[in-house]
Symmetry: C2
Subunit: 313 residues, 2 copies
């Protein structure tokens, strides 16, 4: 996402340096493994653009972006540990390369570094937004775990879960950026709406790609969600279209072969429906930007929202 | 520790209410299990007393105390998960009662709540102290894990480990309290010294009790540390007194029966040496209080430091 005037390589370097602050620690490749490489840096880019739109001090925005990405990476590392995920971003997951203990501790280290960067930002409302989002994410994760393989889930329940698990932090990143940048209350409210809708659009497409993408584009196996028991919107809609897929899921749970389930989701109309829904949310995100004066950054935020739904299958 | 004018029962209630903020979550008894009961609340009591000594706003000090205890409890929950500990404070450890996933997530929830309380405190230097301490604790934990069953550890290496694992947060609690209370730089430095020495004294005695206490007083089995491979000062000094115990440890690692090791540590002079060392640190803690004007709270802090080394065997 360096197309938005964001120095992604420089940011990666700062993230790594932050994790190493306090001297070397023997965690093998854990830090580079989780902080370098193929990440999209969606949240730091959003902080960067909302900061620019409000003409903020770039150093404080950088500290905020580091805080947000440290928090996000911590939740990824801990989630992969809980889900016993095999891969992340095309690489073996950390808890497998090192150990579950190292994964837990490295996640905690990233949360600590998030707090230290927030201390640099020195804006209690940003601290409140980010750690409030972490609490929301944890609650979303607990909720999702309770609903593993619950095929009666509704679209509304799904939307509530992704609001917690994904939109909450995207939203916190956007609204914090505007607050730290000294934007007004109406601009902060607009950034909150933008972040909410962009986060929802992003996650719906992520859940589409889990069924529709090629494995090498995705960086993990296709159909990973249902294998782990996570029931997402493509499946909810496919079940609503006809209950045949429920039998396929029950069979797959015994055999371990989910290909018939994946095929059923791909062949029905669910993925198109999800893409339309995501596009609606991307439009709502874009609309929220109207309160900001016209500028290159406002246009870029709009493009970014649109790009969330046009990610490659 | 309600003898220091600290309302322990009221504090426990607030901790629980904080963890539940955002509505009920289905984690069984996880919250009450980890937040209620027999905890000493050493760090909140220190925040309370340093706040009183500097005539601070009690509400802000309470938020700081909640932040500190949330952080501390998070590290306990995650440590027990890593160590696969059977018990904590006389109860089965959370990851056993619920599940490893719930323990991980509840620990993360407590770190989130720590951040939210720090946002209420609204003092970036306190945020920096507490999350800086968390990073130090994680690094100490990684160090300690690398040294499991390393019988060549020196006293200096042990002191470095407990400085990171225990003293860092006690120190952060004390110095943050003085900063938030508006104390001067000399008072903050004194609180830092007090916290460091009190934390060392506390941990040395904890490590003595692991060998010397009765199991029912300790709330966990005697000799727990060496069973987990954690080499503490009592053992380091016993090894220095004569290498016979090394053979006993090797034998115990195969048989699982550590009673001969525990007896060797109890029967030598190591425990008395440790108690003398802890008493020295408690005195240094007390001495650091000289910069504060004479007051009931200063006397109580001195008493508290002394009480750390007179805990029941």
């Amino acid at each position: 996402m360096s197309q938005f005037g964001f120095d992604a390589a420089g940011f990666d370097e700062l993230l790594l340096r932050s994790a190493r602050e306090g001297g070397p620690i023997e965690v093998g490749e854990a830090l580079t493994h989780t902080l370098e490489g193929t990440a999209k840096r969606l949240r730091p880019v959003l902080v960067h653009l909302f900061g620019r739109i409000c003409a903020a001090d770039p150093d404080r925005m950088l500290q905020l972006a580091l805080a947000v990405e440290m928090l996000h990476t911590a939740t990824l590392v801990h989630d992969d540990l809980i889900d016993e995920a095999a891969t992340r971003r095309g690489r073996p997951a950390l808890h497998r390369v090192e150990s579950p203990s190292v994964a837990l501790l490295v996640g905690d280290l990233y949360l600590a570094r998030c707090g230290v960067h927030l201390a640099q930002v020195a804006e209690p409302r940003a601290t409140h937004e980010l750690f409030g989002a972490l609490a929301t994410i944890v609650r979303g994760e607990l909720l999702q775990r309770r609903r593993r393989f619950d095929l009666d889930q509704t679209e509304a329940e799904y939307m509530d879960t992704i609001r917690r698990k994904t939109a909450s932090l995207v939203q916190a990143a956007c609204v914090s950026a505007v607050i730290v940048a000294g934007g007004g209350a109406d601009q902060a409210a607009a950034a909150r709406r933008f972040g909410h809708h962009a986060g929802i659009a992003f996650q719906v497409i992520d859940d589409v790609l889990d069924y529709a993408a090629e494995a090498d584009v995705l960086g993990k196996p296709v159909g990973n969600d249902i294998r782990e028991g996570t029931v997402t919107l493509p499946l909810i809609l496919t079940i609503a279209d006809g209950p045949a897929v429920v039998g396929a899921i029950e069979a797959a749970k015994s055999s371990g072969d989910f290909s018939a389930v994946i095929r059923a989701v791909r062949d029905g109309g669910a993925l198109r429906h999800c893409e339309a829904l995501a596009a609606d949310h991307a439009r709502l995100a874009r609309d929220a930007l109207a309160v900001f004066p016209e500028s290159a950054e406002r246009a870029q935020l709009g493009d970014l929202a649109a790009s969330l739904v046009s990610r490659s299958r």
